[in-house]
Amino acid sequence: MLKLVTCIKQVPMVSELPWDAKTGTLKRELAEGMMNPACKHALEAALLLKNRHGAHITAISMGPPMAEEVLREAVAMGADRGILLSDYPMAGADTLSTSYTLARAIEKECPDFDLILSGCYTNDSETAQVGPQLLEELNIPGATFVDQFEIKGNTIRMNRTVDEYLEILEMDLPGLITVSTHQYNPRYASLSGVEDAFNRADITRLGIDDLGIEPEMTGIKGSATRILDVYSPTTEKKNDVITGSPKQIVEELFAKYDDKIGSAIGKDLKDYE
């Protein structure tokens, strides 16, 4: 039976972010968490493999204790177990130390994995770096932004689009792929699945002592980057504000800007009637 690992991250629900109107900053601590959408596509790809070939799926996440929610959601969708890496020294990790920590946990908890599937990027930091760095840390072959794949025996064949090239790739397992959001639209967790996940889910929580790693290797200490400042972008320019009924607005738009629009499309848009 295939042994699969999916990496999942909890991210803030960006569309509902609470803003501090006075300072114009994001109140991150109040943001509600959700499973990163791209991670869901990776999990869906793993679930399809499970349906087709039979597979054991370990969902793994690193984050604060509340990140356990997304592991329960993963179990509700069909993953077999969840592993949460949560410990104070792990906080503030950049992708270098995140991939280090994830690799040690995978080596310890699922050393005989066949395939690791991760999302292609996260909605919060959007680096798309953890997947490719994890494959390097584990020294296994891999490919990013995979649109579709098929496993035959010990090899995986993958399709992806890279900078306007359609590529078909093949590699031996074990390996790692990051799954694009083009295919594998995620399923919803069934109601009974959600109930089960919250009552009986097999979730293991591990800290640095469980993984046998030094605090210097993880979290902010294991990171090569430092964040100097985080701020809200404000770019304003003086612009022409138009209001009114749709009819009035369109009339005003053409009265003022018919030349501008017309010259861009090489057509005369003047109203001669």
């Binding site: 292609c120 680096t127 490919a143 980057t225 701020y231 972008p233 320019k237 612009n239 607005i249 848009l269």
Partner: protein, 352 residues
Amino acid sequence: MMIKSEAPSEKTSKTMNKSKKKKSRQIWVFGDYRNYFQNRVTLQLLSKAAELAQKIGGEVCAVVFGNDIEEYIWEYTCHGAEKVYALEHDRLSDYPIETYVNLMEIFVRQYQPEILLVGATSFGREFTPRLAKRLKTGLSADCIGLDINDEELLVQTAPSFGGNLLAKIVTPKARPQMATVRPGIFQEIPHDNDRTSTVIQLKMPENLPRERVKMISSSKSPSRTQKIEEANVVVCGGRGMGSKTKFKKIFELARLLTGEVGATRPVVYSSWAGHETLVGQAGKNINPKVLFSFGISGAIQHTAAITNADFIIAVNKNPNAMMMKLADVAVVADANQICTALIKELRNRIRA
């Protein structure tokens, strides 16, 4: 252009090692040249590198691997590279990522550049994090700004938290300081045939590991008649259009304006429009003469990709939306209603 060639003899590499105590001041730009926009982003990075080099007293270097790369060496020289590290080998003809990572790791360790910049193409987005991991150094993705601070560190401005925030990031100790930048963020310096560079011909290292990922096939994906990157008019729609059915009007308006349709990520995620329409992070950067923006709030992932638009007409119910502040004309109204009214009026005015 004059190209001086320098072979990396034992002697030169020894001098390199000796001078290691002094901090290396090279700024490397990875030559990503596979197709037009990859080559352009390399040229844009060379221009930025020249600016940064002035501040740290550094040298602008391009690094290019491949088979038959003469024209790129020339191109990079004409766009500001003072030194070009070049490795020509038939093993490199199909752009193998793992092999490129292996090679780059070796040459970075040998020459120890201070800064390494790579275009955030699909290739760059896999290649660069893998390389940074090997070198155990920091990397920030999709930077929209690069500068040097008082401590002579590279300050990388990268979008985070759904584009609602920008982070200024540095790599204080590890080297090189690495960043990826999307095409279209920086302006290239004009082509100048009179520029010269020193070309260092690199040798294919012996016992380079074999590529573990086998390329079965690679073909140029069928290109459409007009590319959104090159369209004079782009009509972008966001979630503010209301529904998939209403979003179809964006396509009709674009057709009337002989333009292209662009979409935001929520729209693409909801399958109101295909992934090829995505404008912004992980999608396309556009350069239209006129950009129509309907029901888009303006997260930085989207707005960073439209900075080259000459003239922006934005429609949004919320006059304070970021997109409205960026626009030349801000129409405060329901996006769907204005889209409908514009279609009607255009049908009257375009008679032919």
